[in-house]
Symmetry: D3
Subunit: 333 residues, 6 copies
């Protein structure tokens, strides 16, 4: 069977889930990576209402779509973040935000992540994708000076906050797949190494491989797959296009909006950027990844109704199965 290709619904949460399902099915997607925001999925409601979960499954079945993983980046972000501010208020929902007290937000976000694991289990899904947040991301510039003790404390804070959540994941038979991403505890290669150490390499914590955050940091996404091959729990396809090289556009984006051509890099529709997709898909075959490839469609310079359909064609064409036999076998047959 060819590898299933899904659409992540996070960037479509302004539309009702049924509309997204209808579109995705029409474009040929095999399934959806459901986001826990908008009306797509609500872990709190699911915890209280079994019919809610069944209704979602029925909706997917109506459009002949599968679900292999669900995502809750927005609430995961709040688990470790510091500061907690207006940016979080805009994305975590009222139930988590509550009175906005930072520590309360973090704890309610942690509760939602536990509920997300429970929801996954009810949906028959073994993977939850998301972000972790980070207490030390804000120190990325290293000035004013930051001691290594502060960095160490940040990794410890992450472990302290996520271990109890991962205990619930273990109870549910579900794995968490962290997306390596600036703003998070693991945002590049060496922070991923350190993060896995911090959590004792426990199996409940793995990675959602999204190469779009690697290419502009010049982390090789292919080698990343090989080195962390036992922790690649999910694959998201988003692309990044570099616009570095004119001496003025910088790696850090200059606080410019997406799609501004003065940014040193930008997210673009899969296949329009600099991710070496074919090498990546071939390496996924090599490491034995058998899960879905999920298109996370983000491109502020392109109409998503055109782009999402084009993207599945691109992925379908390149993410081919490996052959059964080596070519040079023919020489001695």
């Amino acid at each position: 069977m060819p590898r299933p290709i899904t659409l992540f619904t996070g960037q479509w949460a302004d539309l009702p889930l049924e509309e997204v399902a209808r579109l995705a099915a029409g474009w040929g997607y095999d399934g959806l990576e459901l986001a826990c925001w908008g009306d797509h999925l609500d872990p709190w409601q699911a915890a209280e209402d079994d019919a809610y979960v069944q209704a979602k499954l029925d909706l997917l079945e109506k459009y002949n779509l599968q679900v292999f993983a669900i995502s809750n980046h927005l609430k995961g972000q709040a688990v470790c973040d510091d500061p907690i501010d207006h940016r979080h208020q805009a994305i975590v929902g009222e139930r988590v935000w509550g009175d906005g007290d930072a520590e309360g937000v973090r704890q309610r976000a942690a509760e939602e992540m536990k509920n997300t694991a429970r929801l996954a289990a009810k949906l028959g899904v073994d993977t939850v994708i998301g972000f972790t947040g980070s207490a030390i991301w804000k120190y990325v510039a290293m000035f004013p000076p930051v001691g290594q003790d502060v960095i160490d404390a940040g990794y410890a804070d992450f472990a302290d906050r996520w271990n109890p959540i991962l205990d619930v994941f273990d109870e549910c038979g579900v794995r968490f797949a962290h997306e390596v991403h600036p703003s998070e505890i693991a945002y590049d290669y060496w922070t991923t190494v350190r993060t896995l150490e911090a959590i004792g390499h426990r199996e409940a914590f793995g990675l959602n491989w999204d190469p779009s955050h690697m290419v502009w940091q010049q982390v090789d996404p292919v080698a990343f797959l090989y080195d962390f091959r036992d922790r690649i729990y999910h694959v998201d396809c988003k692309d990044t296009r570099m616009r570095i090289g004119n001496g003025r556009n910088g790696r850090l984006g200059s606080h410019l909006a997406w799609a501004d051509g003065r940014r040193g890099w930008d997210f673009v529709s899969t296949g329009h950027g600099d991710v070496p997709w074919e090498d990546c898909f071939r390496m996924l075959n090599q490491i034995g990844y058998t899960g879905p490839i999920s298109v996370e469609w983000e491109d502020a310079g392109m109409d998503r109704l055109i782009g999402a359909e084009e993207a599945i064609g691109f992925v379908r064409r390149l993410a081919v199965d490996a052959p059964d036999a080596a070519f040079d076998a023919a020489f001695s047959s």
Copy 2:
């Protein structure tokens, strides 16, 4: 006269100023870029005690050292920063930190910057170097999503807080030279463009050009000199060595300590890195910069007593004066 070369005392503030003066003079430096911390310079004390300033001048004269500019990065940082935290407490001094209330710290830092202008005038110096801090640097990752209104507000906050300070600079006939640097309101090319717009291109606000922060962002430091040629008020020489290219070391440094070879880049002694120094020095001649070149010595992998002496030799050799006549004049003579 060849261009004067000075040593920035900021990274030597653990030593008494006299010891730094003795060392610098011994290595052949023409002067010092005095830091407003350690026992090197205290703007509050200078405001209250005229003899204090004279004593500093006497000390410099004793070692036959000149002063062209003074620096107050650490307190400038606190003027706009948000959050204000333990990192600031470690560097702003008790007078500015006070009870640690964030807004109070910012206002006391602003007061110190005004005093720094006054101190410069008393020293007979027309340039103060420093940082601005920033209310929006922390949003550099653009996730959780940040609206352009928030970015706009950050630039406005900068203008609101610095315009009154710059009024004092104008009164004193002194200019502020901001060092373009991550953590600050202007950290790359396009943020510098925007920052100068925010402040209405007023003459009191210019730049301390330090290329070490540009090379790892892939901003061309030579073109930067040309484009901002009317705002280059001071030059700091610090170098950065790139260690990108093995697929694992990332541009963002991985929260690793200075001198860790897994960082994608590192500060190194001038001449040991990837700054195109010769092109820079030639461009300084072209734009008519006549001020000092100041060695800001930072290299966590090298002994500073060896490095600072080597650095002045490197700069002296490359920062040559321009000739009087063009070579092809000889063809028709």
Copy 3:
């Protein structure tokens, strides 16, 4: 409405205009960028015969083709050129060549450019594309030595010759779009800066952006669009493929014919070369360029009947409209 795509008829002037119109319409082009040579357009005839202009419009209408701009590179070339020689004789037509006296040729070429503006107005078109010629291009090698006074005089000569032409453009409500190109007064970034200064940045004089001349000079065509965003009056799509890198093929072409693989670069059908088209089209959206994209088809190694059809497909696929909303709006909806 999607952006219109036109075909420049200059390289098809050996064919009757009606044949070109039939072909272009058949391939799906939305219009033609009409050349003022061959039988396509004659500014002198148009000046004398109103029916001539109407007949051209009728012909276009018959094939359902629009016209947004007309071109007169060949005669514009003669306005400033020095020397005027057999190369000009072959391209300017008898009316301009006359007795071949150089200054006379220049002045008659200037007259034709004025007539071209008048013709544009009659056609209901607000843009004339072309070349300027240059009295100093021939000094590009800087040897035998050339003083800056000679260079200055060249820019002044350009202004003196073109200002009267541009006065007529202003009268007609038409703009001139100079194609930045070797042999011309503006052939790269800094000469464009200087040219616009020479002409006092008058609005009648803007640019026809054709990136094929930039990539082999290593001028970034995307940054060029941004920096001259208020002077981008028209867009021509021609591509250039680099063949540099074997240590023998040089940047200057070695006097070799087009399509010789030993040239360091060559013009090729749009999409077969090294122009970063997608970044360019996205930047055109950013700077608010709303005019046509015109395919200037040149490829000495490919059949034009195959290439011109392929090229419109390539451009149509990449030159997409910008979306209405940002993708991350969905996170907080």
Copy 4:
């Protein structure tokens, strides 16, 4: 007539020739480059049985396939190789292997190459493709030290062994096209120069240009075509994808199997790699190569039934005929 595109049957010799013919015809190939192994072609049988050759021609005709060249890499390899070992036993067939005595194997391999020339003549084909083997390839690392006398002797051994074979080629009016390839006497640019010298530049000995072996050695395949333009007797299309650049994958392949993503390079289906195909096809036009382009399909990471069909589409699209007239002719028409 467009240039014919053939499929090399060497990597399909595990299938009966009729099955390969059926597949190739179905995908649109114009002909086959027949391999002298499997049941595809047997030079010994052809030498003894004229009906055998006719039956092959009939089979091709049945599927409307042409033959322009035949290949015998596997037996040519044994002519000069040293050592002769189990690797040769697996590929040379029983007739050549015999008792496995090395010198006997070499001489029987030479006999088969003579028969291959005779077979080509009977098939009406003027080109035989193959390998030469090499007595000195094994010294490629230059350690333990190897004197230039040993290298010289290797080239002489090649000439001594191949000149008698080429005499038969001359008698038959057939040319040998050596594929430049590691393991062979000529494996890169300078060894090709030296090999042609060794054989006195005799016309019977030319080259099968296969760029896949050049790109990972960083030999420019386009310049190679130009420099050896009078010896390009055949063209094989195989592609190579580089995976160098993460600091760990090496140029020499690390003894890893094909399709292992840790190899520094890998053979891939034509169009999936780093060969600059379009420049190559254009140069083939320039040097007047009029023979077939033959797809040698090798990709251990892709199903050959998908790949071989895709490959002919890729080649057909890019390997276009040159035009009749230059584009700039239109300017003066």
Copy 5:
């Protein structure tokens, strides 16, 4: 104490050891890495004659030179090599060559390596540097096809032959430092990984890091140091200069002699090539390597009497000690 710098005597074995000692001491070297050939060191003689060893130590003392490691590349090479041929005869000495029977040579070479460990112990040295040889290096081109079983057998052969040798090393308290090098069982990154696995990561087997063999294979020597940090037992400084990039010089050297400018790379005097020495020396500090840096001087285009003196100056200047404190400590002092 600054890190000791030694000279490897292998390329000076045509001179009497005393002459080499006199030269090295004169140039300022701190010691010698003694080669087990020429008259420098003879493990067989040392095994039989205790006075022999003392005489060598006396000679070193006379010139105030230390010894930290001894080398026996030439005989180690023969332990696993296949074929054994005239190249080995020229370098292994009569005692090992004997009657030239391949298996006999291999076993006598193994005996010499055991004696070399014993000699090291007598000299008070804990490291023996050398090569391993390889039964599978000759298959590096992967054609004629080589199955993975053959590769596996090659690593097993290595382990079978070297484990008994390493047992003697363990008995003597001496470690073997294999130089990663083409022709050997470990010649790049991934073969080093596999080799260490084959030998069960036993402590007696480590690495002599010589970056000159890595740069032309595009293996990052800095990352190599970090990844194998617990197995870096010795450091040899040899440099390699790349001459790739003109489309004709290839990575494999074209069987051309050293110093021929058509080779794609060449060994050159330390500091004249493309090894990133400063990054390497800094990483040696980071991983805590405290041993000597040994100059292995090889440059076929330079006089060694000039080069060896220049090289120690280069190394001394760059291989500096790390500082005691971080520079940003000064900000809060």
Copy 6:
């Protein structure tokens, strides 16, 4: 004997020759490459006055300076140039300029070149360096279109004008060394190939290799030496520093003055640019060039009195003699 290093006096012709001799001798130069302008050398005077030549030789002897070659770029330039204009008037001298009639200038320039050969012979020198001029350089942009017949005619014009000059060279036993350079008949690799063909590869016409004109055109100066090894008659050392890469500085120099940092490249003092000097000097050894290395000092951003002394140190250090024996000879001694 180490290779002699000379100073080209062309850029010092505003000074009396004796002053140049004094300076050069003081800096350690072994000789002078005398320019035929200023008061350094006058071929017309030499033709008429034997004492003139002896006086020059006496002057050189006084400063212990040798002469290996003389130069007459400025008059050679006028032999083929078209147009002849004010630029030539400024450099060819009154004798050649005369009434300024173009054809007359060309012929008188040709006469001076013949006299230059005669002068060389009188000085005991076998090489005259210079330029050829070109009738077709001005067509480098290929627009307005230029037919290949015009290009062909340009090469023929060169041959027609230079063959009679070269006849005189042959009579005198002197060779002409053309400096490959924009503005000349041969300005890059392929034009050099064509130029040598045009002149029938006659021995009297060879090359003055000056890599500064190659690097910015991306012609490999090392491969150039190898390919034209039988025509390298002289070596000039001038360096070029690239400033390409910021998207705005172009390859063609933008009509900007030397030393303007916006030029894409600039001439700089030897050792300050991008010429791979060490590879070049090693290749000079390989091809058996035994003549002088002559420093042509040009750097509009540096004082020549500092630069010329620094340059000889740079060249002396790198242009070393080749060794007598290969390093790996020691392994088997």
